[in-house]
């Protein structure tokens, strides 16, 4: 299939709406992606035609819902190239997946053990590790970054030791768009016997990871970043880890047998899936993955790179504009203009129908590093166009004029 941007845009009903009287230019894709009609239809179809609880009923409806939900799990397995479908655990999203792993490690860590995270993390994702350290007496170590927003790998190698038990890094930084060298990070961690959890929330819409080839222990992501619905995501864990980690929450689905004396847990993945899951969300996630694969990740990457290069060049023509994050990166541009407040720029461009993110992007340590209150972040998806980049650039120029 050839990449036809105009046909693709027709799949996204929201892209034809207006905001503040202007056509919507949606450049906040790093926060969440828009949904194609195919995904919206799948949600409507589920609730209209086969809504039922899964894994429980013998009745046909329950069977249909269970089949669709498990088929989605298989699609996700294939997409991320996990070895078995039972290594794909449905979650409420990236955050929950991270907490599940952090919680599981509580029983595996001893005082003085070390956890390594990167300086580029989403700050809410640092919290589960801080909590884990408080609980276990383990120590949190941070891989620093340089002015370009690139991790210092030599520093990382120095941090690694036989005390290192777990390394947590995002594949792509949400604040700057930096692509981290996860192959290298995983390999080096393994060489000291540490496990690795990769946060794919920002990368999954740009890069199709091959989990077996990466040989990663854990991988988390959210459906809503890749054209799927909110409130659903996955945690991949290697089967051996699935057997080692204790369950996260107690409840229905996660048990094999219950008596008041003892409960035996169900096997993977159900051990980690207590309670009625987001059935519709899981099914729609599968549809979103089909949608992205039909376009093709190579085509997506090529188009997004074109947008990134074009936008970078155009924005840099504006005097005083500085881009943060200039290393190897995806289609995210985080910038400021001289000492104008990002909030002011965001407010003006919003009045012109352009949705960008302003603020610290849940990455306060990065903002402290650059000593700025925040940035304006434009993040592009495959359905964005060069004309939309032009609209952004014009709006930013107008904002600069009004504010200076």
């Amino acid at each position: 299939m050839s990449f036809d941007i105009h046909n693709i845009r027709k799949d996204f009903p929201i892209l034809s709406r207006k905001v503040n009287g202007y056509p919507l230019v949606y450049l906040d894709n790093a926060a969440t992606s828009q949904k194609p009609q195919q995904v919206i239809d799948a949600i409507v179809d589920y609730y209209s035609n086969y809504n039922a609880n899964i894994h429980r009923g013998v009745h046909s409806l329950s069977q249909e819902a269970t089949d669709a939900y498990e088929a989605a799990r298989h699609k996700i397995q294939n997409h991320f190239n996990a070895k078995t479908a039972c290594e794909i655990i449905f979650t409420a999203g990236t955050t929950q997946g991270i907490n599940l792993v952090a919680n599981g490690f509580a029983s595996l860590l001893n005082k003085g053990d070390e956890i390594i995270v990167s300086a580029l993390e989403h700050h809410s994702n640092i919290v589960p590790w801080q909590m884990l350290c408080e609980k276990t007496g383990a120590v949190l170590r941070v891989i620093p970054m340089n002015e370009e927003g690139t991790l210092l790998m030599d520093e990382y190698y120095n941090l690694l030791s036989d005390k290192t038990k777990l390394v947590f890094v995002n594949h792509i930084s949400n604040a700057l768009g930096t692509i981290n060298p996860i192959e290298e990070i995983i390999e080096k961690a393994h060489s000291v016997g540490a496990a690795v959890l990769i946060d794919g929330a920002q990368s999954c819409s740009h890069i199709k990871p091959n989990l077996q080839e990466l040989n990663v222990d854990f991988y988390v992501t959210s459906a809503h970043k890749m054209c799927g619905p909110t409130g659903v995501g996955i945690l991949y864990m290697k089967e051996e880890w699935g057997n080692k980690l204790p369950p996260y929450q107690g409840g229905g689905e996660m048990i094999a047998e219950v008596s008041f004396e003892k409960t035996t847990y169900a096997g993977l993945p159900h051990k980690f899936e207590a309670g009625t899951p987001n059935i519709c969300g899981g099914i729609a996630f599968g549809v979103a993955i089909d949608y992205l694969n039909a376009i093709g990740f190579d085509a997506i990457e090529a188009h997004e790179n074109e947008l990134l290069t074009y936008a970078t060049n155009k924005l840099l023509e504006i005097e005083g504009l500085r881009i943060y994050g200039t290393g190897q990166k995806t289609s995210v541009i985080s910038f400021n203009i001289e000492d104008l407040h990002p909030y002011d720029i965001g407010t003006i461009v919003d009045k012109l129908g352009i949705a960008v993110r302003t603020g610290h992007h849940c990455a306060q340590p990065i903002m402290e590093f650059y000593k700025i209150p925040g940035t304006v972040r434009a993040s592009f998806a495959f359905y964005n166009t060069l004309e939309e980049v032009d609209a952004l650039v014009e709006a930013v120029k107008k904002a600069k004029m009004m504010l200076s």
């Binding site: 104008l340 909030y343 003006i348 925040g374």
Partner: protein, 141 residues
């Protein structure tokens, strides 16, 4: 001038503009004309929570009236706080507590009134009313 009269005046001034851009430019100008606050007063305890930009709000009592001074690191936010200072500063606490804020809608800044909006216009008004309440309580005790 009473709060109401100042609000009327603002509505009048803003009604001269027929698009958002002129209104914002005017607000930005109001922000620039906001009297400078003493740098010593820009302390963390004077920051208003709930804003993406920093807003410092200081108050003092003079001849039974509250004098507000304020600053922000963002220009639009500074314009908004300038509008509020013009309306609420140099007024008696009871008058501030009694005042409604419908004029914000009428000067075309309604979108800033949503409580979830990151600029914290609602928080600014709340903070001004809190100061008024505090002075009022002090005076009555």
């Amino acid at each position: 001038m009473t709060i109401e009269a100042i609000q009327e005046e603002l509505i009048d001034e803003f009604s001269m503009f027929d698009d958002w851009m002129q209104r914002y430019e005017y607000m930005i100008d109001l922000g620039k004309s906001l009297p400078l606050i003493d740098e010593k007063l820009k302390t963390d305890d004077k920051l208003i929570k709930g804003c993406q930009s920093k807003v410092w709000l200081n108050s003092e009592m003079k001849n039974d009236k509250i004098i507000f001074t304020a600053d922000s690191d963002a220009i639009i936010t500074k314009g908004i706080i300038a509008v509020l200072v013009r309306v609420f500063s140099n007024q008696e606490p009871q008058a501030i507590l009694d005042a409604d804020t419908d004029f914000i809608d009428e000067i075309g800044l309604k979108e800033h009134l949503s409580p979830t909006r990151a600029n914290g216009l609602v928080s600014m008004i709340k903070q001004m009313k809190m100061y008024a309440l505090a002075y009022q309580t002090q005076a009555n005790s």
